[in-house]
């Protein structure tokens, strides 16, 4: 797997995708979706050893010689996250869209009130649970056979790589995929859809800290200083000795 991540990330058990936007933090649903978008693009990249009738490329313009043949000029496949309206591509087929679907993201308790520990001096409390997120990979194509075959490929990929994903990306659990029937829908023409669904479970950790001990610490720090203004700056920027 050649998905590039920030291996030095220590703020969470989950790694961070390289070049990920600063607003997307590891473990959030958008980050998990990104993981499978990149993984499926890798799976459908042109591979001489294991050619497919579809090929992912950064550029979607069809080849002049396109013949949908694995050993010739395969049809390019569009792989994207769901509801990405910023992209200029419209109604492209075949496609795989990766999104949250088939349910809601839930926070599942594994201990009473999610509580796992407390610092007696500061009053800080630590919590933990597992977040369970449904994943939906929608495989669309112009013919039912093509949609079904792409769905099969995606289904097998998720099934075969779930253990690798689980360990490499710090996910707690990836359930076995479920593939839906291949059904038609109407866009500009009849399009066939096969859905592959599974659930991802990952760690959620957080802490709360009482405000009174924090204020007391600040008061103590200020009383010992000559330059009060600088002390506030240091506290705010977290670069002072205290």
């Amino acid at each position: 797997m050649s998905i590039r991540t920030n291996q030095n990330w220590r703020g969470n058990a989950l790694p961070r995708l390289q070049d990920e936007g600063p607003d997307v933090f590891p473990g959030s649903p958008l980050a998990v979706i990104g993981l499978w978008v990149f993984a499926l693009r890798e799976r459908f990249k042109h591979n001489v050893a294991y050619p497919l009738p579809w090929m992912w490329e950064h550029e979607l313009r069809p080849d002049e010689q396109e013949d949908s043949h694995p050993d010739g000029h395969p049809r390019k496949i569009h792989i994207e996250s769901a509801y990405n309206t910023e992209k200029p591509v419209r109604n492209y087929r075949p496609y795989i869209v990766v999104g949250k679907g088939g349910g809601s993201t839930t926070a599942d308790k594994v201990s009473v009130n999610n509580f796992v520990g407390r610092n007696q001096y500061t009053g800080k409390k630590a919590y933990h649970c597992y977040a369970t997120m449904p994943m939906l990979l929608e495989c669309g194509a112009e013919s039912s056979g093509a949609s079904s075959t792409i769905g099969d490929t995606v289904f097998d990929f998720v099934l075969a790589t779930r253990e690798i994903f689980r360990t490499d990306f710090g996910l707690h659990e990836i359930t076995s995929p479920v593939m839906s029937d291949t059904i038609p829908k109407e866009d500009d023409k009849e399009i066939w859809i096969t859905n592959v669904q599974f659930q991802v479970q990952y760690d959620k950790r957080w802490a709360t800290e009482p405000i009174a001990p924090v204020l007391r610490e600040i008061g103590l720090a200020i009383r010992g200083r000559q330059n009060v203004s600088q002390t506030f700056v240091d506290i705010a920027l977290r670069d002072g000795d205290d």
């Binding site: 043949h69 049809r75 419209r90 075959t149 023409k189």
Partner: protein, 290 residues
Amino acid sequence: MPVPTSQTIWKHDSPPKKGLFRVEITRTTALWPRKVYVQWIVREPKNPSGHLFSVYRSGSAEGPWEELLKDAADTYYLLDNNFPAPEDRTSPGLFSLRRTIYYKVVVTHTEDGTAETIKKLEADLPRRQRGIVRKLRRDAAVALKKGSGTEVAILKRKWWGEPCEECKSAVGQSTRGHCKECNGTGIVHGYWDPVYGFATRSATPVNVATENQGNVESHQVEVKMLDIPEVERYDILVFLRDNERYIVNQVVPTEIHTVNVHQELAVSELSRSSREYAIKVDPWRDPEWF
């Protein structure tokens, strides 16, 4: 090589020219869902017998043609019962509510010469009503050619034929929506040869909906065209001037005494990534005229 009396089927509806040796299909009657009865007659023959007839069948007025009868002497009807509708779609069936089948009859004679004609499977009319239908068809054709219409190519989808060896699955579905052999239909080439004509389309907005796939566009328009060829759902209309291609969703035929006069269609503009844009048509073709 026979000299055709017409380049298109609707020239057949023109009044016969006196003194010209010709053949005319006088009846095509379906005996649903098993057989079609086809009957023809020769006009202005110089000899009473010795005519050899060949009969062909196609899904489009432009062919390609499948031979049903070859050089049969002095035969004036054919009971076409070759509608087995096999699971592999290699032969046609008569189960669809809107199945268009064209027959071509070619007559040859050592002295009279040769002639041919084309007629689709439809009801027959008495001479007077046939004249009314022809007048309405011609008026519609004039209105489209001289007025509101533009040149179109009609690609009729194949529902039977040679199976695609590249991508057809064992159960008959194409496994590649963009297969270059069958264009995602499972039948080689996927469409009959294009028929050229005139049509007009309405102006409607392009709708954009946000779906899983992102922004998805749809553009439904209404099209008026002649009844030739008779189109069905999934057939393709190519407007030659701008090369925009539309797929037929609904057909409302305007009829007089069960015979089509013209057609009003609900069509949807195909996405630019659709395979149907790879099917070749002649953009400079001037449709034939009465």
